[in-house]
């Protein structure tokens, strides 16, 4: 299973974290610190796997951003590597050529999308189309609610004028 997902920038800034195994805040900080030290220093032509404290971390760099997933020692590494890519492709489709800034200012969107992809550290959906459809449906639900709210507040505003 995937124990956690980390998105770290090349400068070591955290862009997203999602923990599927229980860690305290202290442990989380420590893990991030340790792993940024290990992963950010790795050269470009090395393999995408790092052995770390009895686990394996599968990572891939996209432009300035490192996507990392921590798995058990005998999980299938390549499978997880492609989960990362799958996630990136979905983000790309959603934001339209995604960049780091998209993820910084819309980190909540990145969370929504991740939740449609993984639950309990396991892959739940391997169709990009399905994920995109579900996210679009969520967005429109939020949009409708906003419109309703604004129309109600308009009514109230006008009524109390």
């Amino acid at each position: 299973m995937i124990h956690f997902v980390l998105l770290i920038s090349r400068q070591g800034k955290v862009r997203l974290t999602k923990w599927y195994s229980p860690y305290t805040q202290k442990e989380r900080t420590k893990v991030i610190r340790e792993l940024s030290g290990v992963i950010l220093t790795r050269g470009p032509k090395l393999c995408n796997f790092v052995e770390w404290r009895g686990y394996k971390v599968v990572y891939k760099r996209y432009a300035s951003l490192y996507f990392c997933m921590c798995i058990d020692q005998d999980d299938n590494e390549l499978e997880v590597l492609e989960i990362i890519h799958h996630y990136v492709e979905i983000l790309d489709r959603y934001f339209g050529s995604v960049c780091e800034l998209d993820l910084i200012f819309n980190f909540h969107k990145a969370y929504y999308i991740l939740d449609e992809l993984l639950i309990a550290g396991e892959l739940q959906e391997s169709s990009k189309k399905t994920v995109a459809r579900l996210i679009a449906a969520q967005d429109s639900l939020v949009e409708t609610a906003k419109e309703e709210a604004s129309s109600i507040s308009n009514i109230i505003a006008q009524a109390t004028k």
């Binding site: 050269g43 052995e51 005998d74 590494e77 960049c99 980190f107 391997s126």
Partner: protein, 1016 residues
């Protein structure tokens, strides 16, 4: 760039981004936290939008690593908001902010449950996602039934059900009882019929978790998994959107194969065949392509297929195909594939005997040890460690030593421990071992634990030949300018004990030795000083005639340390000072250290401890555990006095059924008489007519309880031999003093060797006897490998062959002593004179220290070794079959009490006995026809035909017909096959009253014939 849609949040994020340093960032965060805190305090005034915004800010701050110790309540309370946008934020922030142990989660259980059982699909999804990501025990207890309902409900849409499956998986991890409901395994099997691949992917993850803990309940899922795999591998009915770079959902393929690895075997031949077809297709059909993602995805599937093939212990051909693939992978440039190639090759070492093929890649693996990538270097080190044995230890260890100087700090400790273990385990000679360890200490002293140098001292102390060499080496190292303290310790110890052996060499006079050691004294820590003091005392003792100058020097040192603050040093100084004035008494007390008792290497123990891992069970670990538990069972069966239970040793099964009884009786009689003609006509098996066959078993089918005891007494009586028929096999000559216990089950080892040509025949803590055999026609050449496992010699080694009358055997000379850690090869020539099932025995004995060990081992020069499988066509078979009509050339018998096995298994057994199964000759699919050629001097090459007719309704009985051109051969072959088919009783028999007495064993020793009878 899209902004968050919440202006305040975007502004805050921009501010954080604009901070020049950590300090500024902290100030900005603190300001925001203060702001959020005050806003939450006046909660009344917050609109849902504001609440949402603040909660997101909190999460952002938390994500950056700051503690957020308030506002959890607000996040949780959003979960119960009536509208979707707030609820969504509530769920997602809660699942990020809190973990399963958090108290606030309890507050939410009711709302979550209402959302799960409610009608609103989007709310269900949110609730399931959160529970799936952070649900703990309490959630498991209160929500599992509802989640289960959603998963199997036919009215729910796939988007809810796939979340329910993973949610249930999470709850199952927290509390395995959640699936302890009647019929859950059936439902699980039904879930695998799902057409929606999203639901199927999630359900498969659930299945993997379930079978990893308990596969027994889920056998019905196995064929379905194979079906799914077939469907995906053939790309049948896979929607375009589930194809990833042209590969039908690689993730589901991987998961399905993972699930299959938790089932110990696949019994059903059809399922097995279709699975192997799929696996073969994956192994053969995966090519390296340009597109990285396609490559990764297809290799993810390929590596999982490799793991499954290894698990299923496939046919040798497929295994070597796997090794060939891995060999290709470890040589490619693509680092991921190389990494995985090395990793999987290491796994391959654990599961099957392909070491020889892997060894061919040694040079390539060593190259990876120098790879720029530490991940790859680690894998290479592990693999080298795993594949090391006597044949390549020298190369590998020297490679490791060389690498040690340039290795990363992080790897040095592991590296030196591994090098030390390998050097110890596989040293071709002990001086090399000493060299390696001293080099190790020299190059990486900081990483060489005390255990390692203690072990060197043990070896040197126990081997006199080694002592001058080790002392000379130690002396050489002392000349180096800056040596590690561990080197000071070990060389001081060795020189104290053995420097007198070097006395005539230049630079090795007591005075010079003392001088060079004493130079180091100021540089060492308090733990080393006592060792140096002992060395001085020993040097003093060995200096004959005594040298007053040296004596005074050393005395001065002793008296200096008499007031040392360290107790150990002080005590030694005082004692050595007093002793050294006593003259002769010093000689006794400071005499050379006696030999150490043999013990398990503490290094190996350390390595074993280090490997204890609490991580989740994996297929391979599970297998390893199963293996160890097997070993335990074997030991448990052994009675308290240590003699292996006789029942396991007899080639013929111990009677527990009437049928087996008569079997034994036959043999007793056949043995006694030596010919067939005198066989009791009452005894059914030699009788060839069909009626006799059918009646025979009935005739003796009395109450087994009554039959067995008479049987036990009958045989010894009839043979006139004090040995019970089945009690001897491996009774050591003197049970009382023989404290050495065999490792592993001797009978099992023998049985295994009957089917293959090389392996271990016997092993105990001191010696391992391996065997390698080649057979050509009626000749055979066996080589016995006698390997001394100890650090001191085995003496009085004797190997005596007790051949049965039909075998001519010549054993080459066996040396009387086997040097430490050495392996001696003794060729044994065998010639088969005529057909017989009698077995040759090796009477082997040796002395180790005070204990002498004597074992009698059956040699696997059995009837089937002189068979040569031959395929016959229908045109050849039938005329031959008809021409051999009736007894004594053609014998038929109904065999009962057969170990139930599928026809395929039986065919495999026959093939491994070198009886070639010829499919298609018999029109009845339940029958089996086999042919082979038997070679002996009297019969020359003789064609043998066998036909087995099975009854699918009752697999415990079958009818067997054997024919050949020689009556003895026909009979012997029939009996031989019967022995292989009849089931081994599992119930242990009460110990026979006639326990082998030392005296009787002694008589049997002088009488090979009687002993052979005893073995049977």
């Amino acid at each position: 760039m899209a902004l968050s849609g919440m202006r305040g949040l975007s502004v805050f994020i921009s501010d954080i981004r604009n901070c020049q340093n950590k300090e500024q960032e902290r100030l900005r965060v603190d300001k925001e936290l203060g702001n959020v805190r005050t806003r939450f305090k006046n909660e009344k005034g917050l609109t849902p939008y504001e609440k949402k915004k603040y909660v997101w800010k909190m999460l952002y701050i938390y994500m950056l690593g700051y503690d957020v110790d308030f506002g959890h309540m607000e996040a949780v309370s959003l979960i119960s908001a009536p509208k979707y946008p707030e609820k969504q934020v509530g769920y997602i922030v809660t699942s990020c902010l809190l973990n399963e142990n958090h108290d606030f989660l309890r507050l939410a259980i009711n709302t979550v449950r209402n959302d799960i059982i409610g009608r609103n699909e989007t709310f269900q999804c949110l609730a399931l996602t959160m529970v799936g990501n952070i649900g703990g025990r309490e959630f498991a207890e209160s929500l599992a039934p509802d989640v289960q309902k959603l998963l199997i409900s036919s009215s729910c849409r796939p988007l809810v059900r796939k979340k329910a499956a993973l949610c249930l998986l999470r709850l199952y991890r927290k509390n395995p009882d959640v699936v302890n409901v009647d019929g859950w395994s059936d439902r699980m099997a039904q879930l695998l019929d799902e057409r929606d691949l999203g639901v199927l992917t999630s359900s498969m993850s659930l299945l993997v978790a379930l079978v990893s803990n308990n596969h027994d309940a889920y056998w019905s899922c196995l064929p379905k998994c194979v079906k799914i795999l077939e469907r995906l591998a053939r790309n049948q009915d896979v929607p375009q959107e589930y194809t990833y770079y042209g590969i039908p959902t690689p993730w589901l393929q991987v998961k399905t194969m993972r699930a299959l690895q938790y089932f110990p075997t696949i019994e059903d031949p059809n399922t097995r065949r279709s699975l192997f077809e799929v696996l073969q297709r994956i192994l053969m059909g995966t090519d390296v392509v340009k597109n990285v993602n396609k490559n990764n995805a297809s290799h993810a599937v390929l590596f999982e297929a490799l793991a499954l093939v290894m698990h299923l212990d496939a046919e040798k051909e497929m295994m070597s195909q796997c090794v060939a693939l891995l060999g290709k992978f470890i040589a490619v440039r693509e680092p991921n594939i190389r990494y995985l190639g090395l990793e999987n090759m290491t796994r391959m070492l654990m599961v099957s005997d392909v070491q020889d093929i892997i060894k061919r890649h040694q040079a390539q693996i060593i190259t990876s040890l120098k790879d720029p990538d530490i991940s790859i270097r680690r894998r290479a080190l592990d693999l080298l460690y795993g594949m090391c044995d006597v044949s390549n230890a020298k190369d590998i260890v020297e490679e490791l030593l060389q690498y040690l100087s340039s290795a990363d700090f992080a790897m040095r400790e592991e590296l030196s421990l591994k090098a030390a273990i390998l050097a110890e385990k596989f040293a071709p000679d002990l001086s090399w071992y000493v060299d390696v360890i001293l080099q190790l200490i020299d190059k990486a002293g900081d990483f060489v634990s005390d255990d390692i140098w203690f072990r060197v001292v043990q070896f040197v102390t126990n081997n006199e030949d080694l002592q001058p060499y080790a002392a000379a080496k130690a002396r050489e190292y002392l000349d180096k300018p800056a040596i590690h303290e561990t080197m000071v310790k070990v060389s001081a110890y060795l020189l104290g004990e053995y420097s007198h052996l070097l006395a005539r060499r230049p630079g090795c006079s007591p005075k010079e030795i003392f001088g060079i050691i004493h130079e180091k004294l100021p540089t060492v820590s308090t733990s080393t000083v006592p060792i140096l003091l002992s060395t001085y005392a020993k040097i003093l003792m060995h200096t004959q005639p005594s040298d007053p100058e040296l004596q005074n020097q050393i005395w001065a040192i002793f008296s200096k340390y008499e007031s040392c603050i360290d107790v150990e040093i002080q005590q030694r100084a005082v004692e050595y000072f007093a002793l050294s004035r006593k003259g002769a008494a010093l000689m006794d007390i400071l005499a050379e250290m006696p030999k150490f008792p043999e013990r398990q290497s503490s290094l190996l123990k350390k390595a074993e401890d280090a490997e204890v891992d609490t991580a989740e069970q994996s297929a391979i670990k599970l297998r390893a555990q199963q293996q160890t538990s097997n070993a335990l069972v074997v030991t448990d069966q052994r009675p308290a006095n240590g003699t292996p239970h006789v029942g396991q040793l007899g080639l013929v099964m111990v009677p527990s059924s009437a049928n087996a009884d008569h079997n034994l009786e036959d043999q007793g009689l056949a043995q006694e008489n030596g010919t067939l003609s005198k066989v009791d006509p009452q005894s059914p098996s030699p009788s060839a007519d069909l009626l006799g066959d059918l009646l025979g078993p009935l005739a003796i089918e009395g109450p087994p309880g009554a039959a067995a005891p008479t049987e036990q007494h009958a045989i010894p009586a009839s043979e006139g031999d004090p040995n019970p028929a089945d009690a001897l096999a491996l009774a050591p000559v003197d049970e009382q003093t023989n404290s050495v216990q065999p490792i592993g089950n001797i009978a099992e080892r023998f049985n295994a060797l009957c089917l293959k040509d090389s392996g271990v025949l016997y092993e105990d803590p001191n010696i391992q006897i391996g065997i390698k055999a080649e057979w050509r026609a009626h000749h055979g050449r066996l080589v016995l490998f006698l390997g001394n496992k100890n650090t001191s010699s085995l003496a009085s080694v004797q190997a005596l062959i007790l051949p049965p009358s039909h075998l001519k055997m010549e054993l080459s000379l066996v040396p009387e002593t086997i040097p430490p850690r050495a392996q001696v090869q003794c060729p044994l020539e065998v010639m088969n004179l005529r057909p017989s099932r009698d077995v040759a025995v090796l009477d082997f004995s040796y002395k180790f220290g005070t204990s002498s060990v004597n074992v009698k081992l059956r040699l696997p020069a059995v009837l089937n070794k002189f068979l040569h499988p031959i395929a016959v066509t229908a045109e050849e078979f039938f005329p031959q079959w008809r021409s051999l009509s009736g007894p004594p050339l053609k014998l038929q018998e109904v065999v009962r009490g057969v170990r139930p096995m599928l026809l395929l298994e039986m065919a495999n057994l026959f093939n491994s006995l070198r009886l070639m199964v010829c499919p298609g000759l018999d029109p009845n699919a339940n029958n089996l026809v086999a042919s082979t050629t038997f070679y002996s001097e009297s019969t020359r090459a003789m064609l043998c035909l066998v036909r087995i007719e099975t009854d699918p309704a009752d697999r415990t009985q079958l009818r067997m017909t054997v024919s050949s051109g020689d009556p003895t051969l026909t009979f012997e072959l029939k009996e031989f096959i019967k022995e292989q088919l009849v089931s081994i009783p599992t119930a242990t028999r009460p110990p026979a009253p006639q326990v082998a007495q030392p005296t009787s064993a002694a008589t049997s020793l002088t009488d090979p014939g009687a002993m052979l009878a005893g073995l049977l």
